[in-house]
Amino acid sequence: MKNICLVNGSLRGKEASSLQFLNDIDRKLPDAEYHKTIITVIGKIQDRYPEEILDSMAVADVIIFITPLHNYGIPGALMRLLEDYYVYREPEYNRKDTAVYMIVNCAFPRPGETCGEAVRVIRNFCRRLHLKWRFAICIGTGPVVVMTRKIPFLYPKLKIAYSEIISDIQNAGNAKRIDYLIKPIIPERIIAAIKHHYEKKGRMIKPINKPQ
């Protein structure tokens, strides 16, 4: 029985879009066929992640990172997990041929332009630890996709991408794969207007502050 480690990179609890995508994948991996462990990142850690969490990753045949995008990178809490795992796992290079997948969701409508660096970070992590990088699903405007993904005939590409992860896990795929880019159904100008409203409210947009 394969060990699957699902890593939830979001700190937003039940409100997180990442958790919904994690649950989608979890449901597609039958309990009878896989031993699954779910790890959720932690916002404030004293010293380092608990050993049982790091060990769940170390014994896994498959790790799936499901995470939001933070400033085009990965969340700090997930970064901390990678740092701690790197130190924990480093002496055991090549112990397992662990396959790694990623589902990254961002607030922006064009995942191809925004999620690339976060995916590269996970690929770099895999290269450092000799893990077997497989591929990513990059989802634009995650909350919109979460709200609308169960409507029939929408997001066929997302459904295909999920199936591809499951099939790749089953077949222990080795062939090089490309990432899946999932765009939201809501027009970009509406998403941009919502974003602009909150950036203005949150003082993210100029006028420039003039220090005394």
């Binding site: 700190l11 970064m79 950036e199």
Partner: protein
């Protein structure tokens, strides 16, 4: 000019110590008052991505850690410099906290990564990741165009070159 320098105190190396000394010296020689915050992994709480600092209580994080204190005073600074190790092409988790919580100056943010075993792809990832804060992805963070810069140091010679380049922000 008031400048904020934020460092990762858990990832000090000979290279980073040299970089810190040289950056502070360059800033002071050019008339900057420098406030230094050395953050450790046990000092910071990570960004939850809840957006409450944009919506419910603008400018303030619900986690009352040191980063929240830095952010409260951010209008007093002309520039923020971050020194961070480059890990898998990303800034460290400790430095991710102030970056993700928007604790950098609204006028200028300079991110300087360091490491003596960074490979080419990690270097390139780090630069691309940070350059996108400059607005190269045209749909994001419009307020930061031309106000973010990034450097990577892999040697003591790089430290010298970076400090020379920083002078362009001090005229």
């Amino acid at each position: 000019m008031n400048t904020l320098l934020i460092l990762d105190k858990d990832s000090k190396t000979k290279l980073s110590k040299d970089l810190k000394v040289k950056v502070i010296r360059t800033l002071k020689e050019n008339g900057h008052d420098v406030d230094v915050f050395e953050l450790g992994r046990n000092d910071v709480t990570q960004c939850y991505g809840c957006f409450l600092c944009l919506t419910k209580h603008p400018g303030e994080c619900f986690n009352k850690d040191i980063v929240n204190e830095i952010r409260k005073n951010i209008d007093n600074y002309n520039a923020t410099f971050y020194l961070t190790p480059v890990l898998f092409g990303h800034y460290s988790s400790t430095i991710a906290s102030p970056i993700n919580k928007g604790a950098g100056s609204n006028n200028l943010q300079v991110v300087i990564g360091y490491g003596d075993d960074i490979d080419e792809e990690e270097r390139s990832t780090f630069i691309d990741l940070t350059a996108k804060h400059c607005g190269k992805a045209d749909i994001v963070h419009p307020g930061l165009v031309n106000q973010v810069d990034v450097f990577v140091s892999e040697s003591f010679e790089d430290n010298v070159k970076i400090c020379e380049e920083l002078k362009k922000y001090m005229k």
